[in-house]
Subunit: 249 residues, 2 copies
């Protein structure tokens, strides 16, 4: 899986820093094709600073005079819009579109288009987009920073690709037999050190079992809990002097 | 649903601009409780600039001398880590944790902790976190900008809350009867204007039906397609002069 067919298009960005941050977000999510519809000079020093290790994307960007030119070779074009109104009812969230973006990009180049920081995309520009993306936000503040909007969209496409294999717990779940051996060791120890009387042992152990049952318990976890109780037993036998204070072994 | 119990903690941020961007991302996703573990002076002018309309969050932040103090009143603490190693196998993605974060925050305050831009959280700091979040990224560039990392986590929690009601297509799907009436009008018109011969009509109309079948077709869509063909019929009757060129009605 690669994302070479997914082009990120920025229309008339105002701030070089945002363009740089967009590059970094793209790199984080495995994308690399950036197109800029240039309407003004950008602060490239600021752009390079924010791009960090994604300067290759910044330097490799394509520049165009119009959105029409930037998406001319794209088979499907998504536009982003925070606005309510004209196109709203046809919009979907980035997660709602992600699988479709992947599918269409497997058949040719597609574009995700982001508007100016202050006024987004014009209606004319939105009409060049077959499909509209609307990022879910709080009602109180729906305008995202440009690079944050790009991140959310790229992140959703990346997540939908299932390229990323999450970390995995290596230790298997502890089976009941093993866990019961551990509970038996603790029961004996807690009785011996006088943490509980034998007539309360069932009740107290139920509490301990509940604590250990809040989440999954792995074999590694059981080994640690067994190690703790074994060492406590050893300490009782070897370290505690007559006054009950720890002494030299 | 509110997110008042979800505290965002920044440990030793280096750049005011990032702190401001974090505030904006939080506001976009309906969060407001920001804590900063301060290790140096921050450029507050830059912070206010990047916070935009989320200055209230910036001004309302709590400052602490240590992570221990910042999460002291939190019932559950998630730490973010990009690193492989010690804690990796226990980490989950933001999406993997989102429901749990919501559930736990309904029972008390919880914290999502983000480390320094250059070196993240120390092992000692991570040990204060019961749970580890790892953001999925490309293998080639796994280090996110601080505010982008906050955005991805807050966005996932916001999305999991299902607070956001996406835009909805208001027009119902067109039923077959209505669509067939439209196809019949187009068939008649395309025959009349000589777009197809009657022996090819079935084949040509099949192509047209396929185009119209690529996606959902609503009643509004059918009304537009019927309006177009009706006007074309009218134009043929009224506008075309003997030479076949458009003239005055």
């Amino acid at each position: 899986m690669n994302f070479d067919n997914i082009r990120i298009v920025l229309v008339g960005p105002l701030y070089g820093g945002n363009v740089g941050s967009v590059c970094r977000a793209m790199a984080n999510m495995g994308m690399s094709d950036l197109a800029v519809v240039r309407e003004r000079e950008l602060d490239m020093e600021e752009a390079r600073k924010m791009a960090c290790h994604a300067r290759g994307i910044l330097d490799g960007r394509c520049e165009y005079d119009s959105l029409e030119a930037a998406v001319g070779r794209c088979g499907m074009v998504w536009g982003t819009s925070a606005r309510t109104g004209l196109y709203r009812q046809h919009a979907r969230t980035p997660r709602g579109w992600a699988k479709q973006i992947l599918e269409d990009s497997s058949r040719g180049r597609v574009a995700l288009v982001f508007g100016r920081e202050d006024k987004g995309l014009s209606n004319e520009e939105l009409s060049l987009c077959s499909r509209i993306i609307q990022i879910p936000t709080s009602d109180e503040y729906s305008s995202l920073n440009l690079s944050q909007a790009v991140m959310v969209c790229c992140y959703e496409v990346f997540a939908a690709s299932e390229v990323y294999e999450g970390p995995e717990e290596k230790s298997p779940l502890a089976e009941s037999e093993l866990k019961e051996r551990m509970f038996a060791m603790w029961r004996e120890h807690l009785l011996r050190i006088g943490f509980m009387e034998s007539d309360k042992a069932g009740h107290m152990m139920q509490g301990f079992r509940r604590i250990m049952g809040r989440g999954a318990v792995t074999e590694d976890d059981v080994r640690i809990m067994m190690g703790m109780v074994r060492q406590s037993e050893w300490a009782v036998d070897n370290l505690v002097d007559k006054d009950g204070r720890a002494g030299e072994a």
